[in-house]
């Protein structure tokens, strides 16, 4: 075929494109290696960024560059920049930045069009037109590197692929290097211990609360018993007292018809005492007080019952459950609330039966799904998945997970979300009990409710429940 001159030209063109591609890959590989070396050698965040700009700049041409780090839900902050004016500026996490936060590099052909740039574009001097967003995960950092160029549409998919390869490579390498280092320094063990301690503290906290509730209920129940009984006795006998008073009044009236009666003086003294002591009013007051006490006791009984319900999730009837059935029925219930702003992705895997109460599992699922919906401000995805796996502490478990790509939870809040009455929602919108109760329900099944979250990236709750085989052991 290559004997024809036209074919030779075609071959030459093809070889040219392939050579360009190979050259690009060679450059990329060089950059990847030097990038990793730099990452491992640097000891400060600023140093890492400076080296990243220098290294990535070799294959991603740019005229300005800066770093956006997660700041608060829906917001990022510029922490480092080649243009100092940008430092400490706040950036909205719009849909393009959201994709970058979720790990997908993006090339923007005109920053003037992207809403997140509205307040910042005037700060770019000299003026910039296009940008490339590279997600970057380094040690203890989750950021976006932003490269800018004055030419409109300068960055295209070739740059996106380079950035993607770089992200994947550095992330994987860092993960493996970190794992090795941790193993060497027993860091892994230390972390496991810390995690176990945290889990224990949380369990203790929940158990204490349960115990406290049960104790309080018990302690209050006893006095309530005899107070109720006494009030009932008073209520029943108050009419006798009132009858006796009426009879005494009759006797007084009768004795006044016979003034010579030797008992008249005694009876008059008694009548005088009754009048002075306001016996009539006293009887009416006692009747009112008894009624009030009765109402108060009814309220106390209701509160005690609620406390006992909170403390004894294990009192309900248990059955062999298919978690996938629970997921399906819960989704039917809550999908209406979520469908307008969330795409619900359901990925049900193979699961073994668990011994639990379906109502309680549905309660947990509902709570997690509604929370996920609240975490998504505009439009997002919620993924509900199930499966079966070995849990390091629990053995063979069936699990279900609810994951959203919403605003995420900041690290300082993440450690408190299972605490009763802790809520990040607006006043009046959350009781702060949903996650605490969910945690308690799963804990009482011998399972664990775990959470992972990154600010502006999303949150994943996973409930592990030992399978029936495991329970039998």
């Amino acid at each position: 075929m290559a004997n024809h001159p036209e074919d030779l030209l075609e071959s030459l063109n093809s070889a040219y494109r392939l050579r360009e591609q190979a050259e690009l890959e060679r450059k990329e590989n060089e950059v990847l290696l030097s990038g990793i070396r730099a990452l491992l050698e640097t000891d400060s965040q600023q140093d890492i960024y400076a080296k990243m700009f220098e290294i990535l700049g070799q294959f991603i041409p740019h005229e300005q560059a800066f770093v956006l780090e997660q700041d608060s839900p829906g917001q990022m902050i510029c922490t480092t920049s080649t243009n100092s004016v940008l430092e400490n500026t706040h950036w909205d996490v719009d849909p393009v930045f959201k994709r970058a936060v979720l790990g997908q590099p993006c090339a923007v052909y005109s920053i003037a069009r992207q809403p997140a740039w509205t307040h910042h574009i005037k700060l770019m001097k000299p003026a910039m037109a296009s940008a490339l967003y590279c997600p970057f995960s380094g040690p203890d950092v989750d950021a976006i590197l932003v490269f800018c160029h004055h030419e409109k549409g300068f960055y295209v998919q070739t740059h996106v692929h380079m950035a993607e390869r770089y992200r994947e490579f550095t992330q994987q390498t860092l993960l493996s290097v970190n794992a090795k280092l941790q193993a060497l320094e027993s860091q892994q063990l230390k972390l496991e211990k810390e995690r176990a301690e945290q889990s224990l503290i949380q369990s203790e906290k929940m158990a204490s609360l349960g115990l406290l509730a049960a104790g309080v209920a018990h302690e209050i129940n006893n006095p309530i018993g005899y107070v109720t009984s006494n009030i009932n006795y008073l209520s029943e006998n108050l009419s006798n007292l009132q009858a006796m008073k009426a009879q005494l009044e009759d006797v007084i009236a009768a004795s006044r018809a016979f003034p010579d009666n030797p008992l008249t003086e005694t009876i008059e003294n008694a009548a005088k005492w009754m009048s002075q002591s306001s016996i009539n009013e006293t009887c009416e007051d006692i009747a009112d007080l008894v009624r009030d006490c009765d109402q108060g006791l009814t309220r106390i009984k209701s509160i005690v019952n609620e406390l006992r319900n909170f403390a004894r999730a294990d009192d309900d009837s248990f059955e062999d459950l298919d978690i996938n059935d629970c997921v399906s029925s819960t989704i039917r219930l809550v999908s209406n609330e979520l469908k307008y702003h969330c795409d619900l992705i359901v990925d049900l895997g193979e699961t073994a039966s668990v011994n639990a109460n379906s109502g309680k599992i549905n309660q947990v699922l509902t709570n997690l799904l509604v929370n996920a919906g609240h975490a998504i401000e505009n439009k997002g995805n919620i993924t509900v998945s199930t499966g079966q796996d070995q849990h390091p502490d629990l053995g063979n478990c069936t699990w279900f997970a609810v994951e959203d790509n919403g605003c995420g939870i900041s690290p300082e809040n993440l450690s408190r979300i299972f605490e009763p009455f802790y809520t990040s929602k607006e006043v009046g919108k959350g009781t702060g009990l949903g996650l605490a109760i969910s945690y308690s329900i799963i804990e009482k099944l011998g399972g664990k409710l775990e959470v992972k979250s990154t600010l502006n990236k999303g949150t994943k709750f996973t409930a592990f429940i030992p399978t029936i085989m495991q329970n039998a052991k």
Binding site: M1, H4, E6, Y16, R17, V96, C106, S130, F154
Partner: protein
């Protein structure tokens, strides 16, 4: 990603649509690219496809039908054909505008519409695919460049009818017409391999454009263009020097403008003379500038028969290592197709043999848009392009 190609050979629109609909059961595409013989009704095709598919649709008439190859079927002149991309993780959008008085502005508006519809309108598309009315392609490419810059690859073709009488059509899911700029932006979940080539060889004969106006070549080397051209192609067009259609006679002898990459690699942008007017001026399918140096290019029927496979191979080689293409989308110059029309069966067989089981879809066009080796998007003639989807 999954690619399906379906086609019909029925020459009345309702029957062709009925056959097509019977073949797309269960397919949920993310983008549909349609090609059809211009004897069919574009408006009806647009409305019927819109009723079936909940996705963007872009299409054009194709000279004497379209080429389709599937695992079970091959056809060089399908009356109606669809290239269906099913890529739930990708993003796709289509826009359209009437060409109007200001093609550049219309192109900008059509592209804006497509970007908006893609849901990723702020990001650079991986590829822009266009179906254009012939006549103002250079201005349309300028318009695209004005919106997204000049680095996003633009591929596509100019709609063709069956006899260059201006009966070409374009359509989208919500529009159909004869003078519409239709454009799709593609953000596929995997990077495609793309190839755009002429495959013609330059001769030693060169000419200088001494007078021209847009696509009308008035004089070459200060001689009436038709006479000078006839002289160097050895009297091939002598009977038409006072006027006439020369499209089929000049396919193997187009003009070429040299494009040199930064590395010194040479490529040629071809211009195809299609007619001579009463003044002996040559009209071309692409714009030319005064003072430009033209090479007389030469091609052969044998080469035209082989080129489709060659271009597919080039595109496939640019896919990630070891990847097998899921489908090939092609633009094939209608002039080239007409030159080898009697031997299309040979080309079809060769394509089937070389690309076993891979769905292939080609539109025959009156002008081709693509990205050259130097990274610039241009409008040319007698070109073939292929996009290999992984």
């Amino acid at each position: 990603m999954e690619i399906n190609v379906v086609s019909s050979t029925a020459m009345d629109t309702p029957t062709a649509l009925k056959e097509i609909i019977g073949k797309v059961n269960g397919i949920v595409p993310s983008l549909v690219i349609a090609a059809f013989n211009t004897e069919l009704d574009g408006e009806l095709i647009s409305s019927e496809l819109n009723a079936i598919f909940d996705c963007p649709i872009i299409g054009s008439s194709s000279c004497k039908g379209a080429l389709t190859i599937t695992a079970s079927d091959a056809n060089a002149s399908a009356s109606l054909a669809l290239f269906l991309i099913n890529d739930p993780k990708g993003n796709y959008g289509v826009g359209h505008r009437e060409l109007g008085e200001d093609p550049k502005t219309s192109a900008m508006e059509a592209l804006d519409m497509a970007l908006y519809a893609s849901d990723r309108g702020y990001e650079s598309p991986t590829l822009i695919w266009c179906m254009l009315p012939p006549g103002a392609e250079e201005s349309i490419l300028e318009g695209f460049s004005e919106v997204v810059g000049s680095n996003v690859p633009v591929f596509g073709g100019s709609s063709a009818d069956n006899d260059v009488s201006g009966q070409w059509q374009q359509l989208t899911d919500v529009s159909a017409g004869t003078n519409q700029i239709c454009v799709a932006v593609l953000y596929p979940s995997t990077a495609p391999g793309i190839s755009f080539s002429s495959g013609y060889e330059p001769t030693e004969t060169t000419l200088t454009v001494t007078s021209c106006e847009g696509r009308l070549l008035k004089t070459l080397d200060n001689v009436t263009a038709a006479n000078r051209y006839d002289e160097i192609i050895k009297g091939t067009i002598t009977p038409y020097l006072s006027g006439g259609n020369i499209l089929a006679l000049t396919t193997l002898h187009p003009f070429g403008r040299k494009i040199t990459t930064a590395d010194g690699i040479e490529d040629y942008l071809l211009s195809h003379p299609d007619a001579i007017n009463e003044y002996g001026e040559l009209s071309l399918f692409s714009k030319i500038e005064e003072g430009e140096h033209l090479f007389l290019m030469q091609g052969s029927r044998q080469n035209l028969l082989r080129r489709a496979n060659r271009v597919i191979k080039n595109a496939t080689e640019l896919l990630p290592e070891g990847a097998k293409p899921k489908g090939i989308l092609m633009i094939y110059c209608a002039g080239c197709m007409l030159t080898i029309e009697d031997e299309l069966a040979i080309m079809l067989e060769a394509l089937q043999q070389e690309n076993q089981g891979i769905p292939i879809f080609a539109i025959y066009t009156f002008g081709e848009q693509g990205c050259f080796l130097d990274g610039q998007n241009r409008h040319g003639n007698l070109m073939i392009s292929a996009v290999a989807f992984d």
